[in-house]
């Protein structure tokens, strides 16, 4: 059941807008003979690592059975590059956290189907971590990406984001900003934004149904998809060109780009930035008192085209618990920690409260949350979700390494005018050709 469908969106909407009766059970009050050390690779993500570490500390002092320890991964390496040597060293972390590499991990981790946590999430949000009926992981949060905007700048220019319904509207908004002496958009060349998120705009809009979108992946894998004749591709490409044309920043293909793009949007010199809501904590720290919103990136000139009014919402990662090299006690501890984090009042504070209050600012995906997101951008995402205006994260199904191949090579080459649009289409087709159809249950 691999679907992020209306059910998922609905469940998310209910989690966001309705606060269900508190399901907070105190974390195991049992006394233990001795503490068991439980390891976790990484801290979910860097942006909120201090808050996450604070949650870990709180958890460790809140009970007597387990001590959770985080292991710092090498940030320059991918998830698989980090974890594979650890498995080889028989030193696997009990908890790991990833998205694209889930198929690679499926045979090494526990089935979480019958856990309390899995029952609190809608099937739609569990789907991407369901491999052949096995629930490989449980979600951390929901995230969205699209056009972020600086509300102050847009207000000053008299632009109402809700009125931007087509690509033409968008170009007009860009022109208005420029006329006011602002830079229209920071279009980031960072590889993962291009390789995973920007390509997803095409894939998520490529067909109206989930099955139709997977069929596009099938034909890409089989090598018989011709992107250049696809009208959605043409619109997507035109949007790519539009963003390039109005991009107010210098192309920067290296890792310093991400921080630079956040600084730009926060500075008030730029109106828009193509990114996701995970930047909100950083934006709020950089420009306290300014609201940053999120809106759809319309790729079609027709307001009613599929996906034009929607933003991609999905689960950025799943927690997994090692089954091969961890003891029963370690596994129990791992589950206890995750359950504590998402169901106890203390844990929920760290999950959903904004960064300014010491939380991670996550959008809750488990029912029974007492704490609700309070930031401007989170509320905007909630509105999109409630209205059913969400697009699928097809990039969840990208084969491991593909977003890197595409993002670091062909997308950045097109970004810097090194190749033609026809070359780009061919490069993406070539990258997909022959890839394992994990979305059809083929094993990685």
């Amino acid at each position: 059941m691999k679907k992020f469908t209306k059910i998922g969106a609905l469940a998310l909407a209910s989690a966001l807008t309705v606060s269900v009766v508190a399901a907070t059970s105190p974390a195991s009050a049992a006394t233990c003979a001795k503490r068991t050390n439980v390891t976790m690779l990484g801290t979910i993500k860097t942006e909120i690592k201090d808050q996450f570490q604070a949650a870990v500390k709180k958890y460790n002092t809140s009970q007597k059975c387990y001590t959770l320890k985080t292991i710092i991964g090498d940030s320059k390496l991918t998830f698989l590059q980090n974890i594979t040597p650890m498995y080889a060293a028989k030193n696997a972390p009990t908890i790991s956290y990833t998205l694209q590499e889930i198929p690679n991990m499926a045979d090494k981790v526990l089935d979480l189907k019958n856990t309390k946590l899995a029952k609190l999430v809608s099937p739609g949000l569990l789907a991407a971590a369901n491999v052949g009926g096995k629930q490989v992981g449980v979600p951390s949060t929901a995230e969205a990406f699209g056009l972020l905007y600086n509300k102050k700048v847009l207000d000053a220019a008299g632009i109402n984001p809700a009125s931007i319904k087509t690509r033409t509207d968008l170009e007009n908004a860009f022109k208005t900003l420029q006329a006011k002496g602002k830079k229209a958009v920071h279009f980031s060349a960072i590889w993962w934004s291009l390789g995973a998120h920007f390509t997803n705009i095409y894939h998520a809009s490529s067909a109206k149904t989930h099955e139709g979108r997977l069929a596009v992946l099938d034909s890409l894998s089989d090598g018989n998809k011709n992107l250049t004749t696809d009208p959605v591709w043409k619109n997507w490409l035109a949007t790519f060109d539009l963003l390039k044309k109005y991009n107010g920043s210098e192309a920067n293909l290296t890792d310093t780009e991400y921080d630079a793009s956040i600084t730009d949007l926060a500075s008030g010199d730029y109106g828009f930035l193509f990114q996701g809501n995970w930047t909100e904590p950083n934006l709020m720290t950089a420009a306290a008192g300014t609201d940053f919103g999120i809106m759809n990136l319309p790729i079609s000139t027709s307001a009613t085209a599929y996906g034009n009014d929607s933003i991609p919402v999905g689960v950025p990662g799943y927690f997994m618990i090692d089954a091969k090299q961890s003891t029963k006690a370690e596994q129990a501890g791992a589950l206890d920690f995750l359950t504590w984090l998402y169901t106890s009042a203390a844990g929920q504070h760290f999950v959903a409260d904004p960064v300014t209050k010491g939380g991670m600012g996550f959008i809750p995906v488990y029912s029974g949350f007492k704490v609700q997101p309070a930031t401007f951008m989170a509320r905007e995402i909630a509105k999109y979700v409630a209205a059913g205006k969400t697009l699928e994260w097809i990039n969840t199904y990208y084969p491991a390494g593909l977003q890197e191949t595409v993002g670091k090579v062909s997308m950045q080459q097109y970004f810097t005018d090194k190749i033609s649009s026809a070359d780009l289409a061919k490069a993406i087709q070539d990258a997909w050709k022959g890839s394992t159809k994990t979305w059809r249950g083929e094993s990685a």
Binding site: K76, L77, T78, L80, Q81, T84, P85, Y87, A88, N104, W191, E250, A251, N252, L253, T254, D255, T256, A260, A400, G401, E404, K408, V409, Q412, Q413, T416, K418, A444
Partner: protein, 289 residues
């Protein structure tokens, strides 16, 4: 047939280090070599596949591109690091009063690990230099060097020279100070110019230092990894991936352990060939003096 005394000598002086060395290096290497002939997936191997991992490696066009790029990098960095390092060694062994301070300064880059160093330089190339360039209109630097394959190559070279020349300087200092003073004084009395002394006395007398320094730079050139990952990350467009990074990428990012390990063996053979050639040539030059 070695005598009892010789055996005892071996046991006393060589056994422990050689045993540790074999356990840590020789055995795992042999094991890894064996695995390239199996269908190893990083966790287990179940059957022999002959040379197929090697044929696959050679059919990979990016591997060839990486080999070309690595060779170019090794040659250029080898030359520049050693020229600069020898120059630095001459400066800090001259009669300058500030020589000790200078020597400390030249060595400072070695105190930082490669990854951190790469981050600093990424920052310099992307932000510091470009902002200066815009202010003063230096067109060559207006675009970050890391956005362009050729310039990114030179960025790698600059950082490598900056980092390792201080290290090689130490090797050259050791060589320069091992030259007996009376030899130098004799040449001075004979009225030899400083350049003449350098070319016909100093360099020949410290040939050993050149052998070592060239070998070390050759080796570190082929194995360069930290700076590559942290500075260019293989970019732009994966055109600046050196061989170590390529292997790591192949094995761990794409999960091709068989070809990754085979490429590591190929890399070993290449470096072995180059090093053997370099050392034998240098040794011959040493003997000739």
């Amino acid at each position: 047939m070695p005598s009892a005394r010789a055996t005892k000598r071996f046991l006393k002086f060589a056994l422990v280090p050689l045993a540790i060395f074999s356990m840590v290096l020789v055995v795992p290497f042999a094991n890894g070599f064996y695995l390239t002939f199996t269908n190893w997936d990083g966790f287990e191997s179940s059957k022999f596949v002959g040379f197929s991992n090697y044929t696959k490696s050679f059919q990979d066009p990016t591997f060839w591109a990486t080999l070309r790029f690595t060779t170019l990098f090794v040659v250029v960095s080898l030359i520049l690091v050693n020229v600069v390092a020898f120059g630095l060694a001459l400066i800090v062994t001259s009669k300058l009063r500030s020589r000790n301070v200078l020597r400390t300064f030249f060595f400072v880059p070695n105190l930082i690990g490669g990854v951190i160093l790469g981050v600093i330089w990424q920052f310099i190339f992307n932000s510091a230099i470009t902002s200066l360039a815009k202010k003063y209109g230096w067109t060559l630097f207006e675009q970050s060097w890391l956005n362009d394959t050729n310039k990114a190559f030179w960025a790698l070279i600059i950082v490598t020279v900056w980092q390792s020349s201080g290290y090689m300087m130490i090797v050259y200092i050791t060589g320069l100070i091992s030259i007996e003073n009376d030899v130098l004084e004799a040449s001075q009395i004979d009225g030899a110019s400083p350049l003449r002394t350098l070319l016909s006395i100093k360099i020949p007398l410290m040939a050993q230092a050149f052998t070592i320094a060239l070998f070390l730079t050759l080796r570190s050139g082929f194995m360069a990894y930290d700076v590559n990952v942290a500075l260019t990350g293989g970019g732009p467009f994966r055109t600046t991936e050196l061989i170590s990074m390529h292997i790591f990428q192949d094995a761990f990012a794409n999960g091709n352990f068989g070809t990754g390990q085979s490429k590591a063996v190929i890399m070993f053979l290449m470096v072995a060939g180059a090093a053997l050639l370099q050392v034998s040539v240098s040794k011959r030059l040493e003997v000739q003096r």
